[in-house]
């Protein structure tokens, strides 16, 4: 049900303005809920504006790099992120991202649309699961010690030590996270946090900030492939990048004041709706 008619009459100026405004909203909600703006950018462009999914993925991927890098300053002040965990796992995410970007060119738009819908549903489900966040004491994992991953993070009662676990499982999950990012043009932050928090038992705050660091590098790996394949259109990427960046900065600022439970509920409802549409369109070939 790709819309037509209405959009045919629109010129570049109107198109850019509307996409810019939509991207501000996506970035804002993405930052408030912690799901990132990327997950709604692609469905918005494809379903609402009738953009081809390859151009949509290119513009989304670029906006992912912008928000990830833009948010870093706020995180660094807190001193949570772990450079070594991030760098080690980036070996996995960049390898996965390049394989994903390679695969993206060989999959039909319908398949990509269905995969996108399923990943959306999964991230909606994740956003409602309780955080793990419990860093239990215990003997350190020899592999994590060898990789110098164990560290401490600031808490109200002083720095607290944590031990990283299940390094091979975490590495494997990061290859998958990278591949999803490369196929769909999203940051797959929810999945990365899941791997860091649940599988590797990294404290939640450290997991989210380290994931944010990794998202930018992962996206940069696929972005090169996307660029050379002609997926990145500057006229489309411009309002998306600027819009999502503005929206996410506003979202991070207002994070403390707003009713995030209600917003999360609304955002999740939107995501479930978009996911269903993407899957439906994939099956009917209506893209």
């Amino acid at each position: 049900m790709a819309p037509s008619g209405v959009w045919d009459a629109m010129n570049n100026f109107e198109f850019t303005t509307l996409i810019g405004l939509g991207s501000v909203a996506a970035g804002f909600l993405g930052a408030l809920t912690g799901l990132g703006g990327g997950v709604v950018i692609v469905p918005m462009l494809v379903l609402l504006f009738g953009v081809d999914i390859r151009y949509a993925a290119g513009a989304s991927l670029v906006s992912v790099i912008a928000t990830s890098s833009g948010a870093a300053a706020a995180y660094v002040k807190e001193g949570y992120s772990n450079v070594r965990i991030g760098m080690f796992l980036e070996v996995a995410t960049t390898t996965g991202a390049l394989s994903g970007a390679f695969l993206a060119a060989r999959l039909s738009s319908s398949i990509i649309s269905i995969v996108f819908g399923l990943v959306l549903l999964h991230s909606a489900y994740l956003s409602f699961r309780a955080r793990h966040s419990q860093s239990e004491a215990g003997s350190p994992d020899p592999l994590a010690v060898f990789l110098k991953m164990d560290a401490s993070y600031p808490t109200p009662s002083g720095p607290e030590q944590y031990h990283v676990r299940a390094v091979p499982l975490g590495f494997g999950l990061m290859v998958v996270a990278g591949a999803i990012s490369g196929i769909l043009g999203i940051g797959s932050g929810a999945f990365k946090v899941l791997a860091l928090d649940r599988a590797m038992h990294i404290p939640f705050k450290v997991a989210t900030t380290t994931s944010n660091f990794m998202i930018g590098v992962t996206a940069a790996a696929s972005a090169g492939v996307y660029l050379h394949r002609g997926y990145i259109d500057p006229g489309l990427a411009m309002p998306v990048m600027i819009g999502v960046l503005l929206g996410s900065l506003l979202g991070v600022r207002s994070l403390v004041r707003s009713n995030t439970v209600l917003l999360r509920l609304i955002f999740t409802a939107v995501i479930v709706f978009l996911a269903t549409e993407m899957i439906y369109n994939g099956f009917t070939g209506g893209l």
Binding site: V83, V217, G224
Partner: protein, 129 residues
Amino acid sequence: MAKSKGSWTDKQMDSIIASILQGGVVLAALVVLTGGGLYLFRYGSALPDFRVFRGEPSDLRNLAGIIADAVLFRSRGIMQMGLILLIATPIMRVAFCLFAFLRQRDRLYVLLTLFVLTLLLISLAGGLK
């Protein structure tokens, strides 16, 4: 971790990384906005065409072409240049980490970082399509 002289603490590394990322994003956004303003001024009343995938013209797909277009003050080239600066921002961060691990004489992490940096540069240079 032993702090030999000349090597940064993890906290100093964090703050340098933050400056690289922030600076890169701000610079990229300014270039994209400059190109975007010019683009809308010149082609604002033209009709958009994203419905059917054709792929970008070859000059907007590689670094040399994008730089050439930007120098000629073509609006799409300038925007694409801004996007290249954005893609380069996390790559700069990885390059900085390589430098930092070298100073810490952390051979394992130098190798890991070198691997990531190589993948990123090959991808950006168009070695993998």
